[in-house]
Amino acid sequence: MSAPQLQHVGLNLLDSDEMDPGEAAIGLYGFWIFLMSDAILFALLFAIYGTQLSATAGAPGPAAEFKLGPAFIETLILLTSSLTFGLASISMKYDRGWIGVVAWLLLTLVLGIVFLGFELSDFRTMFADGATPNRSGFLSAFFALVPTHGLHVTAGCIWIVVMLAQIAVFGLDARVKLNLLKLGLFWHFLDIIWIAIFSVVYLQGALT
């Protein structure tokens, strides 16, 4: 009987003979569960944001503060970083060497940092307008939701750096590959969250 083709949800590294498929499956499964828990956290932050939309208390509100232009650029950057991470995963699966993986990861890291730069500059503009979290319930909810995503992206960037260091030390061994698969799930997950943020926060805010 041949081994089942699909060992776990997500990208399977079929020819990585040194990895125990059972261990890889359990590790990724656990990470999916973690992401589910994290998704609950974001869902609740969105819910809180929804209830606080009208609680502007005289401080600047959504229509005044949200600029679609920068948010759109941020969206493009983050979506592109998801593409580059996907290319890193494919390179890890099919290429023999580590150059492709490292190159795509570096590009992803740069995109992540640029995204964070744009986001911080957004926040700076808002602060300059007096839209600080201590002004209203609405701004509190905004500054809980969007920076939580930003902190996740920051953590993802640090994780990329750690993974680059691991590739430098160990090459692409089984555990590095497994960690990269988990990091990939994390990175794409943040993309999905961002799409929700762009729709619920920025589009809704700017268009109403």
Binding site: I26, I33, I40, Q52, N134, R135, G137, A144
Partner: protein, 700 residues
Amino acid sequence: MSDDGLWFFLFGRLNAHAFPFVRAWENPNLSELIGAFAGALVVVGAVVLVALLTWKQWWRPLFLDWVTSLDHKKIGIMYIVIAGVMLSRALVEAVLMRAQQSLAVDAPGIVTPEHFAQLFSTHGTIMIFFMAMPFLTGLINYVVPLQIGARDVAFPLLNSISLMLTAGGAGLVMISLAVGEFSTGGWSGYPPYTGKVFQPGVGPDYWIWAITLSSLGTTFSGLNFAATIYKKRCPGMHLTRMPLFCWTALCTSILMIFAMPPLTLATTLLALDRYLDFHFFTNDLGGNMMNYVNLFWLFGHPEVYILILPAFGVYSEVISAFSSKELYGYKSLAAATMVIGVLSFTVWLHHFFTMGQSADVNAFFGVATMTIAIPTGVKIYDWIWTMFRGEVRFTAPMLFSLAFIVTFVLGGLSGILLAIPPIDFVVHNTVFLVAHFHNVLIPGLLYGMIAGYMYWFPKAFGFRLSEIWGRISFGFWVSGFYLAFMPLYVLGLGGMARRSQALFEPDYRPWLFVAIVGAFLLLAGLVTLFVQLWVSVRDREANRVPVGDPWDARSLEWSVSAPPPEYNFATIPQVDRLDPFYWLKERKEAYKPADHYQAIVMPKNSWVGPLVGLAGAVCAFGLVWHIWWLTILGFIGVWAPVVARSFVRDVHRTISASEVEATDRRWLDLARTTRPVPRELETEPANLGLARPFPTQVPS
């Protein structure tokens, strides 16, 4: 930098008045002296512990064999040790509160309102987060991998991290006795009362960070157990062949994964309000405290089932084992468990019927609440039918199970009353509610945990607990419960508000006196539990059960030696039905050597868990006192070991096949030469852990 600035930089908000000893010195009234005494207990306890460890030279074994261990069995035992310590503290606080209320009818009593508020806040917080949760997590940790035929949980290192985060949170609550003060906002910590405006001190901050550490640990535990149960079952162990305790553990894990994030978020947002002047739950500038209440109970109600379901699992195992019968209605019990898990997310609003939503909304949640009684009722009948015509033995765990059935039904009935919104409007915020939730949680959690502790103790340590002291303890726990909490139903209907430091109604007095007697009986229950442990350790040579099956039980954990080897199973078992070990015994196929033995790879010990837990507690302590350099140091301390660990490749060690075989054969020889005992002798020294098969027809 001025002197004040330098002090703040180094020590934040800490000053001499943070220490209860100083407060008691300056203002020596009874309340402050009690506080100072409690603080002194923590300090003296710590000193005695250090001295004992040094004198017995236990430091090395403590760290090398236990604290750094990734063995799920040792981690489980450490969880239960934490639960025992915290239970002792919180029960003493309960007695103190009962004493205050029984003395404070038209009189000042012994503690000030502020102190009383701290007592009920720590009592609730500890009992839920640092007694109940560690206890059930410990039992699940110990038992589930053995029951599903696995060598360990899915993520042993994460398991250690969970334990140490919980321990860090518990440590923080203990430190609050000696440094500063605890929250006065109750275990649910409702803002805006716990916000900065009304509570500028450190109390709510201790509460926030202790809870946050514990809830992170619990989230990871839930993730770990779910992955273990889904992915690590031995060949043939279908979901529907798992012991019922595994089903309840699975359901509890799923609830942990989904229900802990709301709590983490609630405490984090409250912290943002307090630290960075956000306005989530404040009275002004668009804050909305109902968001907190919803978040908290979105966690809080599933939490009730996180607590109760594992106890249900224990009862299922205990009643089946001590009735020598297959569990009646196994599938209906498993289904009822999962139904309760789903329904638990649909009822959170019944915790605040009176907080302003419409009658229709209340009616919906009232009906949803009553629906939960249906699967629970199914379970009660299943347990009763399991005993029917069984070979029932009234051992201590069985007695706790029986007391649970009767007492829990009573608690459930008062729950049905409270689920009717008009009745809730009448009795809300009275001690009727206090009586109700103690009436479900003491039998529905504590009795179960004690029963599980007594049932699996011989498996974990290789000797049985004293039966007679178990029964004495049982007598105290049950009589104490009824005397302590039945009066509260009466008092609640009579209008006595919960959390009252002073009372002005002389008619309450007789009921309060009965309740304090009950509280003392409960304390005696705890003391006798420790006496039982002491006596059993002293007499352990007479009560050894090395073969490992003292109760003629049915699931895989009993098919290995007591205590089990580090790797649990010499060879991974194959399962073809429910209750596999029982049918192996019936077919005379148990205690057979394997055809060939293989080397076993186990995780090495790791310092990552204890370092993360310690750094987490340090970070939290810095946050509580606004010592920012300590906070940053702690935060780095949490992450540095985790990152460093990802660079370690030498994380496994191999136990050779010959060693595994030698150990296994030694045990099998012992099993062959041991005299099997019939059930009448199972609490006698003759019981060496080998059961004489109970005559049953083997189905073809």
